[in-house]
Point group: C2
Chain length 333, copies 2
């Protein structure tokens, strides 16, 4: 791994999504909280799979989706994540490489299958995720290639990495290498339940400067500061983070530093088909812009553009060429 | 396997579809004939997969899609097809059972992976299929459960079964059992290239009475009788087949016997998203109607209704409840 240089390196759980349509009654019968992500073990994965309807399989995972977005903007992206030597792992590797993302994390030869998330889509477009982490629990500091981290302008880490035990250490090692090479480290809080699980650790990562940039939505920021008042939470984040980008759904996004706040409207969308991946793709646009030296407002516009594309169709990876869309919008030349 | 009774048993290649969007240039570079289905070996499968874009995986296969349609109408369906003991095979089995289709063909433990078809979708909605038959080549007469065949009003066989060598024999065995039990045997010609490969054998199956009912589209009928003139071809089919249902895209369908011809208009469709599976789903509706004792015209209307549903969205398995749609159209009470 020499001679490369990357705009962004994403490190996250490499997960195949197993998507099935369902109705609200099914969620009730299974005792599932709509819209949540829960972690499940092998037995529960087997049980739920045997109850759910016919499904389709597509590559997913937050950081993986984000890297797909960076690549679609024409950015140079790399990904580190653990898949197993099985068909789902092979498909995951194929999909991410096929979009031009550098991916050479050693494949897990035995011990666990590739991670999968059984995603139940209700008629209202909401998704309820049931994630079996499998091979992701085997991501360790050994998987963090210092050459790749050093070659990336920004290393982007997903909060969900806090779930598999060994990945926390990999996360810290990657952040250490990035900073030693004078690079930036970004963190997405992933979801408000994830923040609930790891609040003190996430606050410590931000306050200690282990991460430079924080991505979050309003619910995650409120959860981080344990307040129902968004203004209070935002003030906390402004104090703690060097740079934060907060997504506000149809209200656009806010970019905050200690000194300033930039508000950017949402990119217009004709019809919202599926909101999954909106945050991941916002991060993709923002990170692409940041790596390429654009100002905060333009970074936020790149983010909004990518989020608008992703929510206009089913699925969390771009179907249109984001660089083309950015050129049409006058954001890229 | 006792105590069951089925409206229709489908026997076919159990194939996972690996769908990727592509452009026409890619087809040209790869030397692929747009709209065709070709059989490929392991090496070609590896090579093509490494060149194609990110994909999604869904269960497919003609007879499998048809059984999914029969089940969606509320019919009792069974399926016989060979998958391997791998993740794709497991997904295939899950998907078909999850829609209520009886499926207990012994899984292939070793020797070949589950079949997959790499389907390249061009911007015009056309699909170019590259099929690696894998485990399907191991379907043998031993997989034909006489109890299941005997318990099904109609046994439906796909022409593609003529591709894997051992499946031909399984096909003949199934037809023999069905007739010995006083059941009906149906055949779909699958595609015009398939007819080109096996014309004499297909004509023999029809003329010898090994099959009672033939499903075909206009191109397949013309190919079967090697004529560009549809009228001539149809006259041949009327002479040879006891009963034939011929689909004519937007012109609806024709049901022909030696004595009569029934013409039924196409079911209205707002927008055609993807024509794949139209023939498979037409067969589903027709077979459901036939098994339930409806007249020819109503059978054709069930077929048209199912075909209209399938072409209104991407993918070859129903997304709506066909029984509901049939009730709304006044076809079912």
């Amino acid at each position: 791994m020499t001679g490369h240089s990357f705009d962004v390196l994403g490190i996250g759980n490499a997960i195949m999504d197993i998507l099935a349509r369902t109705d609200d009654d099914f969620l009730v019968r299974e005792g599932l909280a709509k819209g949540s992500m829960r972690l499940i073990d092998t037995e529960e994965a087997e049980r739920l799979y045997s109850h759910m309807g016919p499904a389709r399989m597509v590559s997913g995972g937050c950081a993986g989706n984000t890297m797909a977005g960076v690549a679609s903007f024409g950015g140079k992206a790399a990904f580190i994540g653990k898949v197993a030597a099985d068909e789902l792992g092979r498909a995951y590797g194929h999909d991410i490489r096929a979009i031009g993302v550098h991916f050479d994390t050693p494949v897990l030869e035995a011990g666990a299958p590739t991670a999968r998330s059984m995603i139940l889509v209700t008629p209202d477009g909401e998704r309820t995720m049931n994630t079996y982490l499998g091979a992701c629990t085997h991501l360790t500091p050994d998987d963090i290639d210092p050459e790749v981290v050093g070659a990336a302008g920004i290393t982007y880490l997903e909060g969900y990495l806090w779930d598999p035990q060994a990945a926390k250490e990999a996360f810290r090692v990657a952040a250490g290498i990035a900073h030693a090479r004078g690079r930036l480290v970004a963190l997405t809080l992933s979801d408000s339940f994830c923040v609930d699980r790891y609040r003190p650790e996430f606050l410590d990562l931000i306050r200690s400067g282990t991460v430079d940039i924080v991505f979050a939505n309003a619910a995650e920021v409120r959860s981080l500061y344990q307040t129902a008042d968004f203004g209070t939470a935002l003030a906390g984040l402004r104090q703690d983070a060097k740079l934060a980008a907060v997504t506000l759904s149809e209200a656009g996004s806010l970019v905050v530093t200690r000194e300033e706040t930039v508000q950017v409207d949402a990119h217009p969308v004709e019809t919202v088909a599926d909101t999954t991946g909106a945050g991941d793709l916002y991060a993709a646009g923002f990170l692409f812009g940041l790596a390429r030296g654009y100002d905060m407002e333009t970074c936020a516009r790149f983010g909004g553009l990518a989020a608008a594309e992703i929510i206009s169709h089913l699925g969390a990876r771009p179907e249109a060429d984001l660089a083309d869309l950015a050129r049409q919008s006058g954001l890229l030349r």
